[in-house]
């Protein structure tokens, strides 16, 4: 017998609970009875259908008559099911089809379902239920045990809209132990969909943010309702930003249910090759594009225009808003004609033409007096790991600057979900999912949830996926609870037995880079095993030597090589590089920048420097950088480790900083460009009065072009020397015009008007860099301050990313305790 009776269990009313509790305590069905009950189930369902005025939504039961089953569920699909809680009592097997269901002889399961559906959703859901059924049939065919009947949770039911906005998935009460013998259904849905928050209590987003968005939407929709021709401009455009998984979309969906508006969402056409799209290309048909080819540049404005004109098709009054909306359909009613235009699937605005079209469409949409529907953008904040913004889609490029500047839009920034919220949500979901004790899979314990929540970096989508995946693993290991969830978050060593860390190790959480400095610290602190019996799994070179010299005693190097002997490493540098999530280039730069403070002996540092220099040669050609990158990292880190035998006596912590190289390069580039420009300006000024000397006020300073090298190495330094020397000692006509000096820092340069170094007439952007160029050496050497270093700390390219919880941009102290575990 391969049938399995299944029942729907969901939220129950008070009455149901009571019923249930008594039934659950009643008895546990024996296999024989289960078989019997299933046999007669069709009859019962027939009865249910005929006798109950409001038919139940299909209980996803399995039976041996697929055809009938299908017709059943189809029949249910067509039924309109208002929000209702009903109880189906599966009765004692009874040959009499005419037996009334109201007289249950034997209750074996409780089906309690809160049907929250609108008609479209229910048909869809039931259709999928049918497919799920067939799937389940297959699996059940292969299942060996069919002894137990299952009170199975139908996930499809769960997804139905909850019009009342009540909490839908709650931690089951103790009296809800429905059927102890229940086994888990096969997951048909991702939890992120299954547990989509339907009320504010469920959503893990900060209440204040939700309130913000709600307030804006209410305001905006209210204005749309009154159809004010000139609505307040700021109520037309809302931009939600934030990292992925912060609940931006969930909030909109939640509010759409709560405030009863429709979401009209843009999705990018699939067949658009945006790279080849230019505005004029597609008007001509002869371009070889198929008929189905849509230009994004055209379809996006069309979408906006259409969306702004078409009112909501309001057939929803019977479904979603059945509880509180007016029953009559009237598309003109403002209550029903509420809609927002959501643009989440952003067009490819990296393409110039597309961007222009999108900007134009947004502009004209906002400008048009007829627009009634608020426009909502959801822009995921894609700040990449190194703070380089993914330039393809950012807020800056998406929204036209004039729109951004004009006060027509509101920006609400979401933060990554706080760990407490996240843990709470995960715990709730886990509890709900595992309310049946025998549900297959691993129930994530508190520690696992904690780890998942932390390693997801506030991304609830990722955390839920990870948790769902976590539950799927085989329970091969003893269910001891301590075995699972041992993925080390950070600061813990990973030398614990592999089998233990596997459980969560397989669950790929979103990689968080909070511990970049931790991994750098691994290399910089250079911890080594001091005890001999530790296998040198981490050091391949030693491993190799150990394989050639089988015994440990023989592993010691010959005397002439003894100076190269190093204890085995505690951690693998390649792994550190892997985990630091950095470019090999950046990785080396970080190591290079921070290593000197860890070294005590200059001799060792010289060796390390030699290795780093060698490694850098590999990255010299950009073509090679991709392939040789990992070698660069390896040579750098291993070179550092090898050379570093005499560490600085352990301090509490070393401050780690980001490298300055990029700031330096940028500044050099700026100055070099400025120097060339200034030289040209000087040359230009001099050229009209050629051949003449200082008689005219703006006489030529230079009469020939100089290469940049000469300018920077010879001319400008000396010009600055001239300027620093008192001009009065020079017998040049001294007509001082101090007013011409616009820049304070170049005051000393001033003096005679015909002084070439009076650079007040240069364009202002040159002034700054030039003054820098001219005056940098003028400070006495003792006071040399590396301005760029401070600047670096401020605007370092990685500072945009919160590195640590402390939000300290570049200098997260790496605690010694972080690294050591003893």
């Amino acid at each position: 017998m391969k049938d399995e009776a299944s029942a729907l269990v969901s939220k129950t009313s008070e009455k149901t609970k009571k019923l249930k509790s008594e039934r659950a305590s009643d008895d546990v069905p024996s296999p024989q009875k289960t078989g019997a009950s299933t046999r007669t189930k069709t009859h019962q369902q027939d009865q249910v259908r005929t006798s109950q005025p409001k038919p139940l939504n299909a209980s996803a039961s399995k039976r041996s008559y697929p055809r009938r089953n299908r017709t059943k569920s189809e029949g249910f699909a067509s039924a309109h099911v208002p929000s209702e809680t009903s109880v189906v009592d599966l009765t004692e097997p009874d040959p009499e089809p005419s037996n009334s269901p109201s007289v249950p002889v034997k209750r074996h399961a409780v089906v309690a379902t809160t049907v929250r559906s609108k008609c479209t959703a229910s048909s869809e859901a039931v259709a999928s239920a049918a497919t799920a059924l067939s799937k389940r049939r297959k699996t059940s065919a292969s299942a060996k045990t069919t002894k137990q009947s299952s009170a199975c949770l139908n996930e499809n039911e769960e997804d139905f809209f909850n019009a009342s906005g009540k909490q839908r998935w709650v931690i089951p009460k103790s009296d809800m132990k429905v059927d102890l013998s229940s086994s888990a259904p096969i997951e048909a849905k991702l939890w992120i969909d299954k547990y989509e928050p339907l009320s504010e209590a469920e959503i893990a987003v900060n209440n204040k943010k939700v309130a913000d968005v709600r307030a804006w939407l209410q305001n905006s929709l209210a204005e749309a309702d009154v159809k004010r021709q000139r609505s307040q401009p700021h109520s037309k455009l809302l931009v939600l930003t934030g990292p992925s998984g912060a609940g931006k979309t969930a909030v909109i969906r939640l509010l759409s249910r709560e405030l009863h508006f429709e979401v009209s969402e843009w999705s990018n056409p699939v067949n658009t090759n945006a790279m080849n799209v230019s505005a004029e290309d597609h008007h001509g048909a002869g371009r070889g594009y198929g008929a189905g080819y849509f230009s994004l540049t055209r379809s996006f404005p069309e979408f906006l225009a259409a969306a702004s004109k078409t009112p909501v098709l309001s057939f929803r009054s019977t479904t979603v808003m059945s509880t509180d909306a007016k029953p009559e359909l009237s598309s003109s009613s403002p209550e029903n004609d509420r809609k927002i235009i959501l643009i989440e699937d952003l067009p490819n605005i990296a393409n110039n033409d597309t961007r222009k079209a999108v900007h134009g469409a947004i502009r004209s949409y906002l400008r048009s007096p007829r627009t009634r529907y608020p426009l909502v953008f959801i822009v995921t904040d894609t700040t990449s790991d190194y703070g380089e913004r993914d330039t393809a889609v950012t807020l800056e490029t998406l929204i036209p600057p004039d729109v951004r500047e004009a006060n027509v839009s509101k920006l609400i920034k979401f933060n990554a979900i706080a760990p407490t919220y996240l843990i709470k949500a995960l715990t709730r979901i886990a509890a709900f999912e595992f309310k049946y004790p025998l549900r297959a899979g691993v129930r994530p314990d508190k520690q696992a949830i904690d780890t998942i929540a932390r390693s997801s970096g506030g991304d609830i989508r990722c955390a839920l996926n990870a948790m769902q995946f976590f539950t799927l693993q085989e329970t091969a290991h003893p269910k001891s609870g301590s075995g699972k969830s041992k993925k080390t978050p950070r600061g813990k060593k990973d030398e614990k037995p592999v089998s233990q860390s596997l459980n969560l190790g397989y669950v790929g959480c979103r990689e968080v880079n909070l511990d970049m400095f931790h991994w750098l610290g691994r290399i910089l602190y250079n911890k080594r095993e001091r005890d001999e019996n530790v296998e040198s799994i981490t050091n391949p070179s030693l491993q190799e030597s150990s394989s050639s010299y089988p015994t440990k005693s023989e592993r010691s190097l010959p005397s002439f090589l003894l100076q190269h002997k190093r204890e085995p490493l505690k951690s693998n540098p390649e792994q550190a590089f892997e985990n630091a999530h950095m470019d090999a280039d950046i990785f080396s730069l970080f190591l290079h920048h921070n290593c000197p403070s860890f070294f005590k002996d200059i001799e060792e540092l010289a060796v390390a420097g030699d290795y780093m220099s060698t490694a850098d040669v590999l990255g010299g050609k950009w073509e090679n950088r991709q392939t040789l990158g990992s070698y660069t990292a390896s040579i750098t880190s291993r070179g550092l480790l090898y050379s570093h035998t005499n560490p600085v006596p352990p301090q509490r912590f070393h401050q780690l900083y980001g490298p300055q190289t990029f700031q330096v390069a940028r500044k050099a580039q700026k100055l070099s460009a400025a120097a060339k420009n200034v030289a040209l300006t000087w040359l230009q000024r001099g050229s009209p009065s050629k051949g003449d000397d200082s008689a005219t006020a703006d006489a030529s300073v230079l009469t020939a072009t100089y290469p940049a090298k000469a300018l920077i190495q010879d001319l400008f330094p000396y010009v600055s020397i001239f300027a620093s020397l008192a001009p009065s000692q020079h017998n040049i006509p001294s007509r001082s015009a101090p007013g011409k000096n616009t820049s304070g820092s170049i005051k000393s340069v001033g003096g005679p008007q015909c002084n070439p170094f009076n650079i007040g007439s240069h364009p202002p952007h040159l002034l700054a860099s030039l003054s820098e160029l001219l005056t940098w050496h003028r400070q006495p050497l003792g006071q040399h301050k590396f301005a760029a270093a401070e600047e670096a700390v401020e605007d370092a390219h990685i500072s945009q990313r919160p590195l640590a919880v402390g939000q300290q941009p570049l200098s997260r102290p790496v605690l010694e305790d972080d690294i050591s575990d003893d």
Partner: protein
């Protein structure tokens, strides 16, 4: 006011001060009516540009001194519109392709082609060809140099190219073979002194011989620097005294300071201090190869002969890596660390530390 360097720059070939043999050859070349493409090379401040301009003046007359500065637009293959500033006269055009970085190939092909395809505007010009001066030719990318090879052949009819470079080693062989190589060596101390005296005479000031010698020696064969130093000294104090301070550029001061710091203390902490100064040099556009060179020689001046070979060996090694490598600071610092290590070992050996 014009810098003395520019003010007293010889304008014609016969007024050139040194390299008499070269002067004669150039005069003959100019008188010949035609000349091939030129590759003028020599160290900075040796007088390459002076000779080029003088040659042009010899060919075209004083018209070449009327300079304009134009912005020439051009378009990269990715349809990016860029501009390059060029210095032009009626007869010649001067470009620094390095200004546009990796797009220098486009300058070499398109821009030069554009120039070459138009005839000489001035009907009274003495020559039918125009001249394109390419500054900093050794900074041209390989691509650009290969492109230039073709351009040179194709437009020989109405175009001559004068390449100006510091060394021929970075010019590909096909170009070298297509050009007449003109080497402008750095002037000797005596030659620089002569120029100094000449300038002083023109400026009607007197300079003691000893001071002139000191200036000439300090300039290390860079005449431009010698004249700038002279002018700086003149501003600071006149009449000159023999032991007057000679101004050296500030980046040299910084490098000297770095050397002193290295010699004073050899420790990782000092290396960090040195790193900041190195960064300061780099951020002020002092090329890293210059830094390592100056630093090496500055250090060598202060150490015992025993370790000099080692120092120079490592300087060469790290400069080589610096050229093929990517991040200059790695190599500069590695050199400093290496020197510190060597020097510290040496001090230990002689029992001073």
């Amino acid at each position: 006011m014009v810098l003395w360097v520019d003010k007293h720059r010889p304008k014609s070939l016969d007024k050139l001060d040194y390299h008499d043999g070269l002067k004669q050859q150039l005069i003959q070349l100019a008188g010949n009516g035609d000349f091939p493409h030129l590759l003028v090379y020599g160290p900075s401040g040796a007088g390459k540009k002076t000779r080029i301009v003088a040659l042009l003046r010899e060919i075209y007359g004083p018209g070449v001194e009327k300079l304009r500065i134009d912005l020439r637009p051009f378009q990269t293959p990715s349809n990016k519109k860029m501009e390059i500033s060029v210095v032009t006269s009626n007869y010649h055009i001067e470009i620094t392709p390095g200004d546009v970085g990796i797009y220098d190939r486009i300058i070499v092909t398109d821009l030069i082609k554009e120039i070459a395809q138009t005839q000489q505007v001035d009907a009274n010009a003495k020559r039918a060809f125009k001249v394109v001066i390419l500054n900093e030719a050794d900074g041209l990318t390989r691509d650009a140099q290969s492109a230039l090879r073709r351009t040179m052949e194709k437009y020989m009819g109405n175009l001559r190219i004068i390449l100006c470079a510091e060394s021929t080693s970075k010019i590909i062989a096909p170009i070298r073979s297509r050009c007449l190589l003109v080497r402008v060596a750095a002037p000797e101390v005596q030659e620089i002194k002569n120029v100094i005296f000449k300038v002083c005479k023109k400026e009607s000031i007197t300079i003691p011989d000893l001071f002139a010698t000191r200036l000439a020696e300090a300039s290390a064969g860079n005449l431009r620097k010698a004249l700038l130093m002279l002018e700086a000294s003149r501003i600071q104090q006149y009449p000159f005294s023999d032991d007057q301070k000679i101004f050296i550029t500030d980046w040299e001061t910084v490098i000297k300071e770095i050397a002193m710091q290295i010699l004073n203390e050899q420790s990782p902490a000092k290396l960090l201090a040195v790193r900041n100064m190195l960064y300061e040099l780099l951020s002020h556009c002092i090329p890293p190869d210059i830094v390592i060179k100056y630093l090496a020689f500055e250090l060598m001046r202060n150490v015992d002969d025993i370790i000099k070979t080692q120092v120079v060996q490592y300087a060469a090694q790290f400069e080589h890596r610096l050229r093929v490598g990517n991040k200059a600071i790695f190599h500069l610092e590695a050199f400093v660390a290496r020197f510190m290590s060597i020097y510290k070992g040496y001090l230990m050996d002689i029992g001073m530390a």
